[in-house]
Symmetry: C2
Subunit: 234 residues, 2 copies
Amino acid sequence: MAKKESEGGGGRAQAVHRVLKRAILDQALSPGSKLPEDSIGERLGVSRTLVREALVRLSEEGLVELRPNRGAVVARPTLEEGRNLFLTRMALERLVVETLSGKLTSEQIGILSSHIAAEEAAKKERAPSIRLAGEFHTLLAQMTNNASLIRYVNELVARSSLILALYGRPHSSECAVSEHQELLDKLIAGKTDEAAALMAHHLDSVTTRALLPTDGDRNIKEVLSAYAVAEGLA
Amino acid sequence: MAKKESEGGGGRAQAVHRVLKRAILDQALSPGSKLPEDSIGERLGVSRTLVREALVRLSEEGLVELRPNRGAVVARPTLEEGRNLFLTRMALERLVVETLSGKLTSEQIGILSSHIAAEEAAKKERAPSIRLAGEFHTLLAQMTNNASLIRYVNELVARSSLILALYGRPHSSECAVSEHQELLDKLIAGKTDEAAALMAHHLDSVTTRALLPTDGDRNIKEVLSAYAVAEGLA
DNA sequence: TCTCGCCGTTTTGTATGCAATTCGAGGAGA
DNA sequence: TCTCCTCGAATTGCATACAAAACGGCGAGA
């Protein structure tokens, strides 16, 4: 009964997919990074065929951009795509809380509570805390038992990491852990509307706190100012 | 400027993908049909490699089930997945109408109106009318300019066809054309809440009218009764 | 100095070949 | 007759080979 392979899924293509996805979400591969089939396959000990399959999957999930004849890169969503993405997230996560409100089992509550504790513990380290914050949302989605909802929330949460990597403020704690705790309380209490409002506020604050400041104009200025100094242009 | 290829996308892999997707949505390939790589490739004049890529894409979209070592088949969502799917659809399409309400340009109104006219005209033919009804929803989503929203609505609408193919009543006109017209009217008038309610009702009626009747119990009984008669058992 | 175009290198696109697995049809044994 | 086993055919999993396209450097010409 023991599995020979290190892990789940099916074949090695899935494994490649998981490796790349993980690397992207950890920002070991940052948006815009090239993903050459050859070197990836060589490094992972598989042929280009499998790397290709993994890249196709990732592109379907929106984590990778496949440019015909020009190779794959880690996706670089625009700021507007980012905002739209959070709009979509909000619509879906509202469904999540509506589905879950007042219906959490004690086992589920335990899982969520300990997850929040883990978030609290990891608050100081940037990379893990980002991942854990995302996982809280996917964990919630998981509990709905709604396959399509789960898939989409997963994708959106994953892509949110990209957005935050690109446009997020360096020090914004993307998800205030306390908000997760509050949300959980409302869900347990079955206060659906309040929970939904909280979720909306929670996601909205991410976009305004971490994303908005300030609309790309500032980014351009920042970028240019660095060059200006280097060129002695004030 | 004239394209050599018959259509859009990029390479031939996308073309294969489109062909298969179209065939599935037209129910030329019905749920459960086997999709052997080499016969498809042979028929389409491409190698298994490209068919494989297309199948991977389709499986990511949820239209095809990829069974390791056992080939691909057209997906057969369960009834429960179906219901959940419509729940998800409702959440997303609510966002669509909220986004669009009161903001349709006259050009867009024209497009939608003529589409509704086309639906009306094709009302009698089963296959095209199903496709057109779906396209109305994807058309609306398209107009939001929200990339992720568009993608998900597209996927969900496509999968809805599968659901209806599997569990839909033979004669249920899945989307009453008049409801599309009403919805459009509300959107133009900017009556957001009414439009949202209408959309909710519209989708809900699909699940209850076409899907619910009646919860699988009846299906089992029906199926068994046929066999019973054949065996002289009542 | 700047631009354009040529050509070698690198990377992707696609087909094909071989090994591994599954499926199904007999056939032996009970 | 039923079950289980074996073996061959069909199909997938994966690697590799070759063709085509893009990238980059270099030199010619303005």
